[in-house]
């Protein structure tokens, strides 16, 4: 039997990204005073963690050739909803969290059913939700934050544990779960199969619709979770949080090597992408660049990432196209 030495393309991308990540770290580290501080690293990790929690399930969504752009408003509404439940209806925190997460699952189910039964592209459904959820959050709160007072909840979920932000621990745990799912389970293989060739997957008896619905449900549930965690962080249900978060999430996933056309992507890549985006956002602030220009830079980065993805590394990797 012939033996060939091969470096998997996905690994190549991850190695490249790791090098880019370290370079960016060093550049910011040596060009600014306060970048290399523990305080700042905690800050980077914290913002990366919120993005990461949605980015891992979003990786699956993109692999199956779908997208969810309602993340930011879904996060805001989930937080507002959570506070409404505990403040206005006096639910206990655990029960309220349970309802909000269930609501997240339902939201994803709705997006999935619209996609698979009514043939409405996920981009359109989530675009509609993007507007509706933000609008309703603003309406019901009249644009004002709804404060909560529960200190243990705020200090634990909004604070630090064992030297790292609590949310970072949660994110690392979730990363591990998704990494495991993608590599070692039937569901993971099925998700890649659906992205690789949906028509084929369907013809040999895979329930393509079910898999798409599952990935969308998980993603919306994690948006809801981030909404609750944000409440702990800012001590209130706030209709304006998570603005532009869908962009950071999708940018991180794409920078991490997941193809927008589906089929290709890894959780490790997404983790690196999340850290990369968080580090760039943070470093540019340390450089004293205007936050509005920060967005321009992120725009350029996501564009370049897609160019590199589709033209260099993954040229042969995008799989056959169906729908």
């Amino acid at each position: 039997m012939k033996k060939k030495v091969k470096i998997k393309v996905s690994n190549l991308h991850e190695i490249g990204l790791l090098i880019a990540l370290i370079s960016v770290l060093l550049i910011f580290g040596f060009s600014t005073e306060n970048f290399f501080t523990q305080r700042n690293f905690m800050s980077i990790l914290r913002s990366a963690s919120y993005v990461g929690l949605v980015a891992f399930p979003m990786t699956f969504v993109l692999i199956t050739r779908e997208i969810d752009i309602s993340v930011g408003p879904a996060v805001a509404w989930s937080g507002v909803f959570f506070v409404i439940l505990v403040k206005w209806f006096e639910f206990n925190y655990t029960f309220a969290a349970f309802i909000v997460l269930a609501w997240g699952l339902f939201l994803g189910y709705f997006i999935g059913i619209a996609r698979t039964k009514l043939m409405i592209p996920t981009f359109i459904t989530t675009l509609a939700l993007w507007s509706a959820l933000r609008g309703y959050s603003l309406f019901i709160t009249e644009g004002r934050p709804l404060a909560i007072s529960n200190k243990p909840f705020r200090y634990f979920f909004g604070g630090d544990v064992l030297g790292l932000p609590t949310v970072t621990w949660i994110m690392l745990m979730v990363f591990f779960i998704f990494w495991f799912l993608s590599k070692y389970t039937v569901l993971g293989t099925n998700i890649y199969a659906v992205g690789g060739n949906p028509k084929a997957a369907r013809s040999i008896g895979l329930n393509v619709d079910k898999i798409k619905i599952i990935t969308l449900m998980i993603t919306s549930m994690f948006s809801a979770l981030v909404g609750i965690l944000f409440v702990a962080r800012v001590s209130s249900g706030n209709s304006t949080v998570g603005e532009g978060m869908e962009f950071d999430v999708i940018a991180a996933v794409v920078v991490g090597g997941t193809a927008l056309g589906g089929a290709v992507g890894t959780m490790t890549g997404t983790l690196l992408g999340v850290l990369f985006i968080a580090m760039i956002s943070n470093g540019l602030i340390h450089w004293g660049i205007d936050p509005d220009l920060n967005k321009v830079v992120k725009g350029i980065i996501i564009f370049l990432a897609v160019v590199i993805n589709s033209n260099v590394t993954f040229k042969k990797n995008s799989g056959n196209k169906e729908e």
């Binding site: 039997m1 012939k2 070692y184 389970t185 039937v186 293989t189 099925n190 890649y192 199969a193 992205g195 690789g196 060739n197 028509k199 084929a200 997957a201 013809s203 040999i204 008896g205 895979l206 089929a263 290709v264 042969k316 990797n317 799989g319 056959n320």
Partner: protein
């Protein structure tokens, strides 16, 4: 004894009569070449056997039992497998993952079922050996040649120990060297007692492996005879309608 028997199968799509009273049977270890022009009803017939469509009238019996296939899984569960023209492969998965798709072998990791890669790789390796193919189980399909891709698709049918394998245009769009490879795969299936139905446009390939040739024209079966009693010229005439039937 025939393993698969179609009796008086008709199928219409609205006003279009795609199949009209087709009778056809298939024996174990037999290779049947099904020929016909575009739109003659070949694909419709295959899709009925595979459970994609339900016939408008007529009956199918499998191993002497009347069967009704409402969905492809019903046919697969009986042991009827289709290798589609596009092979239905996921380029981003390994050969083994493609073979085991929807039929993954798992083992338990604590209380969580996880994929048993070593078992699947070993089984896939055995299947390729049986098919005398040099395909590597752990290689991604997108790196593979046409012949190897066909081996993966046929490998799926071996996994389920299919009794009937339908091959839709197995030699279209691949190089000459690979055609030989694919024909060899078909011969291996036959040797193992599998009933094979090939749909093809390529006359020499069909004659190279088929025991029997059936010809469809405008939804009607116009010929069903031993390959060595027919000839490419006769079949061509049957397909075009120069000869009414044979």
């Amino acid at each position: 004894m025939s393993i698969l028997k179609l009796e008086n199968i008709s199928k219409s799509f609205g006003a279009v009569q795609a199949l009209d009273g087709v009778n056809l049977s298939l024996d174990a270890g037999e290779v049947l070449g099904l020929m016909g022009d575009n739109g003659a009803g070949k694909s419709t017939l295959v899709k009925i056997i595979a459970g994609n469509f339900k016939q408008s009238s007529g009956s199918i019996s499998f191993e002497n039992q009347n069967v009704e296939f409402l969905k492809p899984m019903d046919a697969r569960n009986k042991g009827i497998e289709v290798v589609y023209q596009d092979l239905a492969l996921c380029d981003n998965l390994t050969a083994a993952s493609n073979i085991f798709l929807t039929r993954e072998i798992t083992k338990s990791f604590g209380f969580i079922p996880i994929l048993n890669f070593s078992k699947m790789f070993q089984r896939a390796k055995d299947i390729f050996k049986e098919l005398k193919s040099e395909t590597l189980p752990e290689e991604e399909v997108r790196m593979m040649s046409g012949g190897q891709r066909q081996a993966v698709a046929i490998g799926r049918t071996k996994l389920s120990q299919a009794k009937v394998v339908l091959l839709d245009e197995p030699t279209a769009a691949i190089s000459v060297r690979q055609v030989a490879e694919v024909l060899e795969l078909i011969k291996q299936l036959k040797k193992q007692g599998v009933a094979v139905l090939i749909i093809s446009h390529r006359m020499p390939d069909v004659f190279a492996v088929s025991d029997r040739i059936a010809v469809l024209r405008r939804g009607k079966l116009v010929a069903n005879k031993k390959a060595n009693e027919s000839s490419p010229e006769e079949v061509t005439a049957l397909i075009t309608g120069a000869i009414e039937s044979a």
